[in-house]
C-alpha cells in the first residue's frame, strides 16, 4: 500500500506525455498512407486513389531532394558534434573555477538562451549579421570588407550551427556538470597525494569520470541525425541560401502547406522517419553496448 502511494505521482507525470505521444506521433502514423496515394482532401484518406510508389519515384527525380537530404544530415551531424564538444569543454573549464558564486552565476547566464524562442532570436541575429550589424563592424576593424552573411552559402551554414550551439551549450553543460560532481572526491585527494598537478588530475580523474556520460549522449544523439531544427532554419533562411540550408522539414512545410502537394510532402516526411528509425535503432544498440544503457 505504501508503495502505491509513493509511485502514484510518477504515473500522473507520465500521462500527459503519453497523451501527447498518442495524439501527435501515433495517430498521424495512420495518415502516412497518404504517401502512397494521390490524396484529395474531400475524398479523405479512405477514398483517395492509390498510386503505389509514384510519389517516391518523383521525389528521387527532383533535383532538390539530394540537396535537402545532404543539408539535413550535414547540418544535423555538425550540430551534434559541436553540441557534444562545446558543452563538455565548457563544463570542464567551469569545474575548475574556484569561486563558487561565480560558477553559479556563469552557469545560470549561459543556459538562459535555451529558453528563448527562435522566432525572437532570428530577428536578433539578423541584426547582428546584417550589413551594418555588430559582426560587420567588428571585422571592419581588421580591414575586412563587409560580408553579407545571410546570403552567403559559405557563411550561413556556419551561422546556423554556431547560433544553435550558442543557444544550447549552457543547457547541455548541466548534464556534464552533474556527472562531474558525481566523481568521488577521494580520487582527487589520492591523485594530489601522488603529486598530480591540476592538469594531470583533469586527464586521469575527471575525463575518465565523465567518459560514460559522453558516450551515452553521443550515441543517443545519433537518433537526431535527421533533425536539423526546423524552428531555427525556417525563421532564419531565405531563398538565396536554400542551396546550403534547405532541410527536409522546411521543404516538406513549403511543398505541403504552401503548394498543397500533400502526398509528396508526406512521402518526404515518411522517408525521413524510416531513416530516423534505423538510426535510432542503431544508436540504441550502440548505447547498450558501450554505455550499458537499456530501456527494456
Amino acid at each position: 500500500m505504501l508503495w502505491r502511494k509513493r509511485s502514484f505521482h510518477y504515473h500522473l507525470m507520465v500521462w500527459p506525455g503519453i497523451v501527447f505521444l498518442i495524439l501527435f506521433s501515433l495517430v498521424p502514423m495512420f495518415y502516412a498512407m497518404m504517401a502512397f496515394q494521390d490524396f484529395r482532401p474531400r475524398r479523405g484518406i479512405t477514398g483517395s486513389e492509390w498510386v503505389g510508389f509514384d510519389n517516391f519515384q518523383y521525389l528521387f527525380q527532383l533535383p532538390d531532394s539530394r540537396t535537402i537530404f545532404f543539408n539535413t544530415i550535414f547540418l544535423a551531424v555538425m550540430k551534434i558534434i559541436a553540441n557534444l564538444i562545446v558543452p563538455l569543454v565548457f563544463a570542464l573549464l567551469l569545474n575548475e573555477v574556484r569561486v563558487r558564486f561565480m560558477r553559479r552565476w556563469i552557469q545560470t547566464i549561459v543556459y538562459l538562451p535555451h529558453f528563448l524562442s527562435w522566432v525572437l532570436l532570428a530577428t536578433v541575429f539578423f541584426d547582428v549579421f546584417s550589413l551594418d550589424g555588430i559582426m560587420n563592424k567588428l571585422i571592419s576593424l581588421f580591414g575586412v570588407d563587409p560580408i553579407l552573411f545571410y546570403q552567403s552559402n559559405k557563411w550561413f551554414p556556419a551561422i546556423i550551427i554556431g547560433t544553435d550551439v550558442w543557444k544550447e551549450f549552457g543547457f547541455g553543460a548541466i548534464v556534464y556538470l552533474a556527472a562531474l560532481t558525481g566523481i568521488n572526491p577521494v580520487l582527487y585527494e589520492a591523485a594530489e597525494i601522488d603529486g598530480a598537478s591540476r592538469f594531470r588530475q583533469l586527464i586521469h580523474v575527471t575525463i575518465p569520470g565523465v567518459k560514460t556520460t559522453v558516450i551515452l549522449l553521443a550515441t543517443l544523439a545519433l537518433g537526431n541525425v535527421m533533425n536539423a531544427n526546423f524552428d531555427q532554419i525556417f525563421n532564419m533562411y531565405n531563398p538565396l541560401v536554400y542551396q546550403s540550408t534547405d532541410i527536409i522539414d522546411t521543404y516538406v512545410y513549403r511543398v505541403g502547406l504552401n503548394d498543397l502537394q500533400y502526398s509528396l510532402a508526406t512521402a518526404v516526411g515518411l522517408l525521413k522517419s524510416v531513416v530516423s528509425f534505423v538510426l535510432v535503432t542503431v544508436s540504441y544498440v550502440l548505447a547498450s553496448r558501450f554505455a550499458n544503457y537499456r530501456i527494456f
Binding site: S7, P63, P239, L240, L257
Partner: protein, 573 residues
C-alpha cells in the same frame, strides 16, 4: 509481487492515458460538430422559412433576414488598431452589417498577413474543415472545385446579386465570372481588379532629385546613374552615407499584380515578361521567363547589384517595405496605389518627402512596356452543405455598396467614416471578406474627372460617390498639404499614380494563360523555385549571367516543355 503490481499499474496508466486522449479528441470533435450542425441547421430552418419570395432585384439583394442567420468565415487581420472596446469581429462595420442584414458573422479563424492567411486556407482545405465562407486564390479555388468542396453559386447569384455587383462584373465583359466558372456553373464570387493595378511604376523622391539637380530617369542607365547619386551624395543631408539605391524584393518580379519592389518594369523594358505566357516572334506560346530577353535584363541587374546600386540586402528583408518606410531609399518600383501603403507610412516618418511616379524605364524605342494582370485573382466561396449560401452574396452586396460609397443610409455611413478617421483605420479591412469590386477602368477615369473638376471644367456635384470622395480629399490636400494623411493617400495615389497611367501611352502585354495545367500541378512548384533561385543568384552574383542558359535547358527538361505544350493546347483550343 512487486513486478506484478508494476505491470498492473503500468497497464492502468496506459489505459487511462488512451482513454483520456480518446475523450479529448472525442470531446473536441463533438463540440466542433455540435457547433457547426446547430448553426447550420438553425440557419437553414430560419433561412428557408423566412425568405419571402415576393421581393426581387435589389430589394431582395439587401433584404434583412427576419431571424438571425449565422455564418462563419476565415478572417484576415489587418494592421489597423481599432478603437477601445472594439474587436475584429465586433466593430462598427460588423455591427452595421449585422443590423442591416441580420447576419451574424463569426470568425472560424483569423490570420495576420497574406502568407499566414494563405496557409490557413490551405490547412482548412487539407483538413476538409472549411468555414462557411472564405476568400481563396486561383489555385485554391481549383482545388476546391476539383474536390467538390464548395457550393454552386450560379442560382444564388442570379437571384441575390445586387445591381451594383452585377454592373461591375459586367464591366469586365464577363471575364471575371468566367474565371470562376466550370461547365457553366459559377463556384465563386470573383473580385474585380482594376486594370491600373498591373503596371509597376518608378516611385522616386522628387525632393532628392531637385536637391542634387538631377532629371527624372528615362532609361535603365539613367536610373542607375541616379541610384549612384542617391547613394553617394547624401540626399537626406544628415552627413552620413546611409542611403540606398534601388530597393528590391526576393521574388525579383511579381509577374502579374505587382506589390512594392518588383523589378517587373526593368524586365519589360527589355521586352522580357517573366511569369507570363506570351507569344514569341513566330507566334508560338512560350513561357516569359525563359526568353533570351530575360538574360539582358538579368545582366543589367547583376551589373547594378555589383556596383552597389541595388540594396545589397534586398533579398533578406522579412517585409519588403522596410527600407521604404525607414526612408532609406529614394527610389523603388510599385503600382499606382503606393501612397496608400507603404508611402503613407514613409511620409509620416519624414514629412519633407515628396514622392513622384514615373512610367520608366523605357525600351529602346522610347516606349513604356508593361505586363497586365488577370481581371480577377480572388474568389469568395461557400462551403458545400452550408444552408444559406445567399448570406455570403448578401454580405458581398452590402459591403460592396459601402465600399463604392453608394449606401443610402447616409447617417450610418457618416458614422463609419468618422470612426475610421478618428481611429485611423480603413473600414474596408473589417468587411467579412477581403474582396473588392470596382469598374476595371476606374482609376484612370476618376483621375480625369477629378482633374477636370479641380480646373473647374466639371461640376463635382454630378460625380458618382467614389469620384466625389477622391475630389473632396484632393481639395483638402491642396489646401493643407500633408496635414491629413487620410486625404493625402487618395489624393496622391490618383494624382501621381493615376496621372501617370492616364497620360502615358503604354504597350500592354496580356498573359495568354493564368490557370493551372495537369503537369503544372506536380511540377510547377519546383520549376518556380528553380526560376526564382536562378534569377536571384544571377542578380547577387552567386551565379554568372550565363547560368541563365543552363536554367532554360533545365527548365525545359524538368517538365517545362510538357507544360508549354499543354498551355499552347489550352490557348489554341
Amino acid at each position: 509481487m512487486a513486478n506484478y503490481r508494476t505491470s498492473k499499474w503500468m497497464a492502468a496508466s496506459i489505459a487511462l492515458a488512451v482513454l483520456l486522449s480518446a475523450c479529448g479528441s472525442g470531446g473536441g470533435s463533438d463540440a466542433g460538430d455540435g457547433g457547426k450542425s446547430s448553426t447550420s441547421s438553425d440557419a437553414g430552418d430560419k433561412g428557408t422559412t423566412t425568405t419571402p419570395s415576393d421581393a426581387k432585384g435589389d430589394a431582395l439583394a439587401y433584404e434583412k433576414y427576419s431571424e438571425p442567420v449565422s455564418i462563419s468565415v476565415g478572417f484576415k487581420i489587418p494592421d489597423d488598431k481599432l478603437g477601445a472596446g472594439d474587436t475584429n469581429d465586433n466593430n462598427p462595420v460588423s455591427r452595421y452589417l449585422e443590423g442591416l442584414l441580420n447576419i451574424k458573422v463569426t470568425h472560424a479563424w483569423e490570420a495576420k498577413g497574406d502568407d499566414a492567411f494563405k496557409q490557413k486556407v490551405n490547412l482548412a482545405i487539407a483538413s476538409n474543415d472549411l468555414p462557411d465562407a472564405m476568400v481563396v486564390d486561383r489555385n485554391q479555388l481549383r482545388k476546391l472545385i476539383d474536390n467538390d468542396m464548395v457550393e454552386d453559386l450560379t442560382d444564388v447569384y442570379a437571384k441575390y446579386g445586387s445591381e451594383l455587383v452585377r454592373a461591375m462584373y459586367d464591366s469586365t465583359k464577363g471575364l471575371a465570372l468566367a474565371d470562376a466558372t466550370v461547365d457553366g456553373r459559377i463556384y465563386g464570387m470573383p473580385n474585380v481588379a482594376i486594370e491600373a493595378d498591373a503596371p509597376s511604376l518608378l516611385w522616386i523622391r522628387q525632393d532628392w532629385l531637385d536637391k542634387l539637380n538631377l532629371q527624372a530617369p528615362k532609361t535603365v542607365d539613367e536610373l542607375a546613374a541616379i541610384a549612384k547619386a542617391f547613394i553617394e551624395q547624401d540626399p537626406d543631408g544628415n552627413g552620413k552615407k546611409d542611403t540606398l539605391g534601388l530597393t528590391g524584393d526576393k521574388q525579383v518580379v511579381y509577374g502579374q499584380k505587382p506589390n512594392p519592389n518588383g523589378f517587373d518594369s526593368i524586365f519589360s523594358s527589355y521586352h522580357a515578361f517573366p511569369k507570363n505566357w506570351i507569344k514569341d516572334k513566330d507566334g508560338n506560346v512560350v513561357y516569359g521567363s525563359i526568353t533570351p530577353e530575360n538574360k539582358d535584363a538579368l545582366a543589367k541587374l547583376a551589373e547594378m547589384y555589383k556596383a552597389g546600386l541595388i540594396d545589397p540586402q534586398f533579398a533578406l528583408y522579412k517585409e519588403t517595405q522596410e527600407p521604404i518606410v525607414a526612408n532609406k531609399t529614394g527610389m523603388f518600383f510599385g503600382p499606382w496605389w503606393m501612397p496608400y501603403w507603404p508611402l503613407a507610412d514613409a511620409v509620416a516618418n519624414d514629412t519633407k518627402a515628396e514622392w513622384k511616379a514615373y512610367a520608366t524605364p523605357l525600351d529602346k524605342d522610347g516606349k513604356f512596356v508593361t505586363h497586365m494582370a488577370p481581371v480577377t485573382d480572388r474568389y469568395l466561396v461557400v462551403r458545400k452543405g452550408y444552408k444559406n449560401p445567399e448570406a455570403a452574396v448578401k454580405l458581398l452586396n452590402a459591403f460592396t455598396r459601402i465600399e463604392r460609397r453608394s449606401d443610402p443610409n447616409k447617417d450610418e455611413m457618416k458614422k463609419l467614416d468618422d470612426y475610421a478617421t478618428a481611429n485611423t483605420v480603413q473600414n474596408r479591412n473589417y468587411y467579412p471578406f477581403d474582396l473588392l469590386l470596382d469598374y476595371s477602368d476606374a482609376v484612370v477615369k476618376r483621375y480625369k474627372d477629378v482633374q477636370a473638376a479641380l480646373k473647374g471644367e466639371l461640376d463635382p456635384a454630378t460625380f458618382d460617390p467614389d469620384t466625389k470622395q477622391v475630389y473632396d480629399y484632393s481639395v483638402i490636400e491642396k489646401e493643407n498639404p500633408k496635414k491629413n494623411m487620410d486625404a493625402w493617400k487618395p489624393a496622391k495615389a490618383y494624382e501621381l499614380g493615376g496621372g501617370v497611367l492616364a497620360t502615358t501611352d503604354m504597350e500592354k502585354i496580356y498573359s495568354l494563360f493564368y490557370g493551372t495545367t495537369k503537369t503544372m500541378e506536380t511540377k510547377w512548384t519546383s520549376l518556380q523555385k528553380l526560376e526564382n533561385e536562378t534569377f536571384l543568384k544571377i542578380i547577387v552574383g552567386d551565379l554568372p549571367v550565363d547560368a541563365f542558359d543552363t536554367f532554360v535547358s533545365d527548365w525545359k527538361k524538368l517538365g517545362g516543355d510538357q507544360i508549354t505544350k499543354e498551355v499552347s493546347d489550352l490557348v489554341a483550343g
